[in-house]
Amino acid sequence: MTASLSAEPVKAVSRVELAFGRLKKIPSAYIAFWIVCLICLIALMSAVGVPLSAYSFDQATEDLLVGPSMKHLMGTDELGRDLFARVIYGSRLSIAIGFVTAGVAFVLGTTYGAISGYCGGKIDTILMRGVDIAYSLPDLLVMILVGVLIGKGTFGILFALGLVSWMGTARLVRAQMLQLKEEEFVEAAKAAGQDGLTIVLKHLLPNAMGPIIVALTFTVPSAILSESTLSFIGLGLSAPECSWGTLASDGWRSLRSYPHLLGFPSLFIFMTVLSFNCLGDGLRDVLDPRTRLFKG
């Protein structure tokens, strides 16, 4: 008994370590992994109040609209706020939105997909028909309609993002369930008298985790992109909220004279999304070589 208990955690760690070891061999993904960690760390430190810049948020300086210099790495805006400080401050909301959306996609998509795939038959047909219809609507259209009607602000945008992002995961989980439930270990579990919920949670989902993690890695950047796009056209977040999207939106108005105000927030969005996409590509090769998951 003790032997099997102590063997358990070692096995779990080795699976992650194995995947990480393989990830190390893909340079683009490995670099992307550390950039993602760095950006998340910056966002987290900013959120718990570690001052990462000489000018904390809201601390206007006397320099209005100056370009990048040694004093202000990314210049300042029309109120004299240091853009570097603003970008760091904005990262917490952008990153948080990405992760919360991935979390919602995971919970909703997995539940829906697991029910559909495990039950099969008529339930599956009806549930998947619903996903097909919803999936064929352009995300941005749905997000604008729902997000704006529910209300601007963080909740509205999270609701809208959550609404469009779970369907891919649901399809994926369903496909995995359909495939896995025919395996012999499921039959064994059934024969041992385990009920459906236990089989799904204990036997099917852990085996489907690889592709799910890959899908979620792609959900984070697409949520960050969607948020910034919505905020940019004035239908997402707006002041006093501060995300990379709202910063870019403010910068767009003065593109002609002060391009740095748009350039730096855009650069951060690009770097973050690119890193997540490269990491996702790498993870796909490592965890799930067969499936293609990106969506148009």
Partner: protein, 306 residues
């Protein structure tokens, strides 16, 4: 083939009805009406306006009034663009969005598919690495960043292309490029993956061993099969490009559907929201139906149920 197409379209009428119903009740479920933004309006006038547009009736009744008007082909009038019917606005905006969407689609296909094929055929070479880095970067850039960059370089810095409105073909270049950028990158990634998969098939090896040149193997035996998954995304992609140009229309002040949709939503311009949403849904349905048919032509092994 035509019969199948017609059948698909007819079966989509219930879908349109569902979209109409959902949108209608979603709009009414949230607080705020079309005349809220006009501040300083005396309550009596607001009441009169609501009565004129039958907005004072119960929502369920309004719904049936709307549906019966819709059945007669009347999409209603805009509350914000005074004296303009929704038909008028759509008749102007839809062609603009189509021109923009199709030129972007064409650009995306012309750039994306050859790039992906070249990358796959030269797998592992510097060409492949460069193409794949470019396309991963391409799907990671928000549309507004591309747009702002193009505007800055060609409009403000070089001053060679117009950066706003929709008048001459010159006005179309920057918006179409902006809109095409990320689909081109996406198509390149998809084509590469698909071509790589087909290149490993037996019939490709057979063709090569029969002495066919590398390029005719690719052109004749690989691409036709590899493009099937690409063709399936082209349908949704066309729809996304025609309907999803909100950002580009915003950036370049283009009077297309996306722009009207966005302003209609912010203004609670009920009939205009309904009208644009229904047109969006109809475009989606038509393109998906066409894709299903094209899919069968490309790959007769796939028999799609009508």
């Amino acid at each position: 083939m035509l019969a199948l197409l017609v059948k698909r379209m007819l079966s989509s009428i219930p879908v349109l009805l569902v979209v109409a119903t959902l949108t209608f009740f979603l709009m009414r479920a949230v607080p705020g009406g079309p005349f809220d933004a006009d501040k300083n309006l005396p309550p009596a006038i607001v009441a009169n306006l609501n009565a004129k547009y039958q907005l004072d009736k119960p929502v369920a009744q309004q719904y049936f009034i709307y549906l019966s008007r819709l059945a007669k082909g009347d999409l209603g009038i805009s509350y914000k663009y005074v004296n303009r019917t929704v038909q008028d606005i759509l008749a102007e905006a839809v062609p603009v969005s189509f021109q923009l969407g199709f030129s972007a689609l064409l650009l995306a296909v012309i750039i994306g598919i050859p790039l992906g094929t070249l990358a796959a055929v030269n797998r592992g070479s510097w060409l492949d690495v460069t193409a794949m880095f470019l396309s991963t970067a391409g799907i990671s850039v928000p549309g507004f960043v591309i747009g702002a960059f193009l505007i800055f370089v060609f409009g403000i810095w070089l001053k060679v292309l117009p950066v706003a409105l929709w008048e001459t073909p010159w006005h179309m270049i920057l918006p179409a490029l902006t809109l095409a950028f990320s689909p081109a990158a996406y198509l390149a990634r998809l084509t590469r993956a698909s071509v790589l998969e087909v290149l490993e098939k037996d019939w490709v090896r057979t063709a090569r061993s029969k002495g066919l040149s590398r390029w005719s193997t690719v052109m004749k035996h690989t691409l036709r099969n590899a493009l099937v998954p690409v063709a399936t995304v082209l349908g949704p992609l066309t729809a996304i490009l025609i309907t999803g140009s909100f950002v580009v229309e915003y950036l370049y002040a283009i009077p297309g559907m996306g722009r009207f949709f966005v302003t209609a939503v912010t203004n609670r311009d009920y009939d205009l929201i309904m009208g644009t949403t229904l047109v969006f849904a109809a475009i989606l349905i038509v393109t998906n139906a066409i894709v299903d048919v094209v899919y069968q032509v490309l790959d007769p092994r796939m028999k799609v149920e009508g």
